[in-house]
Amino acid sequence: MKKKIIALMLVAAMSAAMFAGCGNNKTEKNNSDGSEKTASSEEQVDITYWTLGTRQESMEQIVSEFNEEYPNINIIFSYYDTDAIKDACKVAAQADNLPDMWYNWGGSLGAYYPQNGCSKDLTEYAAANGWDEKFNSGALSLCELGGQLSGYPIAYNVVGMFYRKDIFQEYGIEVPTTFEQFEQACATLKKNGVTPISTGGLYGWHTMRLVEQFVEYYAGADGHDELNSFDSSWDQENVIKALAKYQEFCEKGYFPEGFITSDPNDTLISLANGNCAMDIQGQWYDFNILDNDLDMDQYGWFPFPNETGRMSAFTEMVQFNADMDDAKLDACMKFMDFMETEEHAAADLVNNPLPFANAVMPGDERPHVSEMYEYSNEGGTFTITDQAFPTAVADVLFDGQAGICNGTETPEKVAAAIQSAIEEYKSAE
């Protein structure tokens, strides 16, 4: 009998131990009077934050400084790569297990969370804390998703064409200001054994940056905006012309061999070793050039000559769990405000420049950044396609890019397939 009792106790202990780790960790309690807790300096607050692995080193430095000032706020990081974080957050959202804060992009990538009630609406917080004056209006508007201000902007990016000055000089190529000149530059480079454009099509989005410029060129600014807002059909002549131009570039060998499955994060290699002469990138590219100990004097940039003058733009932000209480939001904002400072930007610990209304531009060591922002302020911007498109529609474009490149799809078919995916998306909505 005694043995049986011991056995049953052991079984009970084993079963209880199994469930000890189950359940979520949402254990925030309200005060006894039912009111929500407010932050106090003594209270220990744990904040989970999912962000990009590329930021690990700087995050660790910032958080150690932060904990000197706020020892009671413990930031628990998880790091992911660019494409993994998109999926990780969606998986967590479906399991109701999102972290307190997570890195995201604006547009359709970030919209999933406010649309499904997973992210905090910061509209009131922003109004109370003067975000209108603090942030760049373009960056802030790209965080407005699903009728909510759904994130804290941490970067505002504009995309232009970086090129190797020495290669252009060697073959007597002037910086193109018209589309025709751009094509001429590509032809000259190719004739001289240099692949004109470095691109990696593995996830589709890097090659898309070029395709969307062709769309901007053929459809014009208004036409492109109507396409991106799905107010006009993608199965139209301008889109077909843009895709046909992309096809022509593929056939002429203006991209590296096998680019369609190359990693877009490796495009700088071909530029650095002189195999390619141009790469379509954002203002952050200056940082990559410096980070790889390359000679900045060899690199220049020009706005893609799409003849509307607009640049492709996108935002990056941090979103917050809708379930968090005011005390936790307060702690999160303390960390965000501590992190996003000009001091940290100047030390390259966070994006430089910050997406602030009066952001301090980086110095001469990164000469292209302020030029790119100035140009975008004057010429205007359009939302980058993968933030304008829902993922399912963007993937049809990406598949189409690969199909056109390999000769298994035609521009007409791809344009029709994109429109069909849009209609499917709209009907599901």
């Binding site: 959202a93 009630g117 590296p256 071909s270 829902p390 993922t391 490149c405 390999n406 298994t408």
Partner: protein, 289 residues
């Protein structure tokens, strides 16, 4: 008089934790997946009941059909090639020769590498501009540079090669273990009776290793049905769905496009497909015994 067997409830009680784990991580998720597959939704909030619509939709979805075709081809080629190559290696490494232990470890080594790391390694090997294969071909004077994983016709087979490179180690070890269970006296008797090495191998060794074959082939079918990491890491299902598999498509539908019902229906279809292949195979081979 038959003595009534006493039930040992204590023993059953000790099975309880395992039963709870099995029910909570296997049975409940399977049942819940079937339930979700009959609904449409983003996975958050309300799910609309649609009956078998998701299953019907699959067969008019050209990408699903491409993925299904790829998966079937992948299973067939993986089973045939992995079994043949690993058996060949096992037979070779079962002989006594100098450096045998080194070669056993050498061929087993890729098996311990994570599939996603295998994908990264092979992505660089296949890189058409600075990759090992094209550079090697150039170095030995062969002008046959290819785009490998970027070509719609070659992508599937190049990903398969990367997967085979990793996949042969485990079956090779199982075959090696199986070969060592074949009694030497039977082989010796056959030899005295005049049986040649091929006859001994196919008439004695192979039939005596039947259990090993069942296990190797069944696990290969299951693992090749579930292939994911190496495809995701090397081609992400591209170019233009040329390497799309049911698992990668299921993942995209569920977690990228938020079509949780449809994605789960694909997952349920995968399980059914696996059962349809594996159960008859095991039942048939067991019956023969």
């Amino acid at each position: 008089m038959v003595k009534k067997r006493k039930i040992d409830w204590g023993a059953y009680a000790f099975l309880l934790p395992a039963l709870i784990i099995y029910l909570s991580v296997i049975i409940f998720p399977v049942c819940y997946s079937i339930y979700i597959s009959l609904h449409n939704g983003t996975g958050i909030g309300k799910m609309d009941f649609v009956g078998l619509e998701n299953y019907v939709q699959m067969f008019s979805d050209s990408i699903f059909l491409t993925a299904l075709k790829n998966n079937i081809l992948w299973i067939v080629l993986t089973v045939v090639l992995t079994t043949s190559i690993s058996l060949l290696l096992a037979v070779a490494l079962n002989n006594k020769f100098r450096g045998r232990t080194f070669f056993r470890a050498f061929f087993y080594f890729p098996c311990v590498v994570a599939p996603i790391a295998v994908a990264l390694i092979w992505r660089w090997i296949y890189n058409p501009n600075i990759g090992f294969i094209n550079e090697f071909l150039k170095m030995i004077g062969i002008n046959y540079t290819q785009t490998w994983i970027s070509g719609e016709n070659s992508a599937f087979f190049t990903v398969l090669i990367a997967s085979l490179w990793q996949g042969i180690g485990q079956p090779m070890i199982l075959f090696l273990a199986g070969l060592q269970t074949v009694p030497a006296d039977i082989l010796e008797a056959a030899s005295i009776d005049g049986a040649g090495s091929f006859t001994r191998f196919f008439k004695i060794t192979v039939p005596l290793m039947k259990e090993t074959f069942i296990m190797v082939i069944a696990t290969l079918i299951i693992s090749s049905m579930k292939v994911f990491d190496v495809v995701k890491g090397l081609t992400n299902g591209g170019p233009n769905n040329a390497t799309q598999m049911l698992s990668t498509y299921m993942y995209s539908q569920t977690f990228s496009y938020n079509n949780v019902g449809y994605g789960t229906a694909i997952a349920v279809f995968m399980v059914l497909m696996m059962l349809v292949i594996v159960i008859p195979y095991i039942a048939f081979t067991a019956r023969e015994k």
